[in-house]
């Protein structure tokens, strides 16, 4: 589903709660599996959050990956030698796209995307959207896509909601 809302309306907080990174009330259930019934890190492997700013802690790209196919790299517009790149020279857009690939290594069942294309140009935004849609179809996974661009949300999501004054409203 697509999710929009004014800055500060709590979209990011909502995603963080779904990934169990934020204290929250209520129960969160995935296919009858309650969040509290499995260890938090296992839950986060299933319900994966891609934050608006990704962080990198090793020196090179490759060290953050365990396995990666050339096909998925190409799908987001990278060639194989990007693995040797140093983190310091990545642009924010490159970080965002590589961050998605890094996250998908866990093969999550739910993707939580927090303004994932904010730093991407038009071409890379298209690649990113297509890549995510393909993943969702291949793994029969689902996603919550947070963004401000309503045209984009219409492209990627059949259902669209907005957070207005702390409530979820259908915007179609």
């Amino acid at each position: 589903m697509g999710l929009s809302g004014a800055s500060g309306s709590g979209k990011s907080l909502f995603l963080r709660a779904l990934a169990d990174l934020e204290e929250h009330d209520g129960d969160i259930v995935l296919d009858e599996l309650n969040q509290l019934d499995i260890a938090a890190h296992l839950w986060r492997q299933k319900v994966a959050l891609l934050s608006a700013e990704t962080s990198w802690w090793f020196d090179t790209v490759a060290e953050h990956f365990t396995e990666l196919s050339e096909k998925s790299l190409a799908g987001l517009g990278f060639s194989k030698d990007c693995m040797q790149w140093s983190i310091a020279r990545l642009s924010s857009g490159e970080k965002q796209r590589l961050g998605l690939l890094r996250l998908l290594q866990n093969e999550p069942e739910v993707l939580l995307l927090d303004e994932p294309t904010a730093n991407l140009d038009k071409h890379n935004t298209q690649l990113f959207e297509a890549f995510v849609m393909q993943y969702l179809e291949d793994k029969s996974a689902c996603a919550i896509w947070v963004g401000h661009d309503h045209e984009q949300l219409k492209r990627v999501s059949p259902q669209r909601y907005a957070i207005v004054e702390g409530r979820l409203v259908n915007v179609d």
């Binding site: 990934a19 169990d20 990174l21 934020e22 204290e23 260890a39 938090a40 890190h41 296992l42 986060r44 492997q45 994966a48 959050l49 891609l50 934050s51 700013e53 990704t54 962080s55 990198w56 802690w57 890094r102 996250l103 866990n106």
Partner: protein, 263 residues
């Protein structure tokens, strides 16, 4: 023969510390106040202990010696805490630092008194007190450094820790690099001392013993014993501190929990 120091000699050294303080103020390094307080404390504390040390060593009451040890450990724990920029809230901060000193210094001293020194009685103050003192003095440096580095780095690298959590790593994995870095910071002083001993530095206790007329080889053996005890004590102390604090930094859902830190 010991050359006697005049008050003038001490004043000269004090002026150097004073100059350092002035320099720090001029360069806005913000350490002068702490420096002056510590210098004043060292003067007063050493003068006082110098006066009572003889009667302390003459004491034969186990309860009294244990009380002294208890006071020494609590003070060292308190000092570790006062060197921290950010610390755990409530009794946790004091508990973690004194607890780790208990493991690193008190237990190691006991072990050494019973198995190596075997004085009669085992709590003979002329062995027990200086031994505990040397261990505390050195391990508290390591523990304070390791603790400070762990909490500071976790605080500054919050985005990285959370990123690693988002990628499905356990709390332990997400802070593992910071822990390794803190362990290194805590152990560097004692590893330096061991590496430099005899080549760069002449350890104080050994030198003192030799100057006072002890056989050099005996003095050296004591020094090696002390060095190894300090090293293992520091290592154990830093490990327990890192373990306790990194547990405390995460809640039961493996979320970073900085509200447990004092601002």
């Amino acid at each position: 023969m010991l050359i006697e120091l005049s008050s003038l000699d001490l004043a000269l050294a004090a002026i150097l510390v004073l100059l350092l303080g002035v320099l720090s103020t001029l360069m806005k390094l913000g350490i002068s106040r702490q420096l002056y307080i510590a210098a004043a404390r060292t003067t007063v504390q050493l003068l006082l202990i110098g006066l009572v040390l003889k009667s302390l060593f003459a004491s034969t009451s186990m309860a009294f010696i244990l009380l002294i040890a208890f006071i020494m450990i609590s003070v060292a724990g308190w000092e570790i805490l006062s060197r921290q920029k950010r610390k755990l809230k409530g009794w946790w901060g004091f508990g973690v630092s004194t607890g780790s000193l208990f493991v690193s210094s008190f237990l190691i001293t006991l072990l050494c008194l019973f198995t190596v020194i075997q004085a009669d009685p085992w709590y003979s103050p002329q062995y027990a007190i200086p031994l505990l003192g040397m261990l505390l003095g050195n391990t508290m440096t390591g523990i304070a450094l390791g603790m400070d580095r762990l909490i500071q780095n976790a605080w500054q690298q919050r985005p990285i820790i959370e990123q690693r959590l988002m990628l499905g790593q356990t709390a332990d994995e997400s802070i593992s690099d910071i822990k390794r870095e803190a362990m290194r910071a805590g152990m560097i002083p004692i590893i330096n001392s061991m590496a430099a001993a005899g080549l760069v530095s002449l350890p104080g206790m050994m030198t003192g013993q030799i100057l006072a007329g002890a056989a050099p080889v005996e003095a050296v053996k004591y020094q090696i014993l002390i060095m190894f005890m300090i090293t293992s004590g520091t290592g154990l102390g830093v490990i327990s501190v890192l373990w306790l604090i990194s547990k405390r930094l995460f809640d039961e859902r493996e979320r970073l929990c900085f509200k447990r830190l004092l601002k």
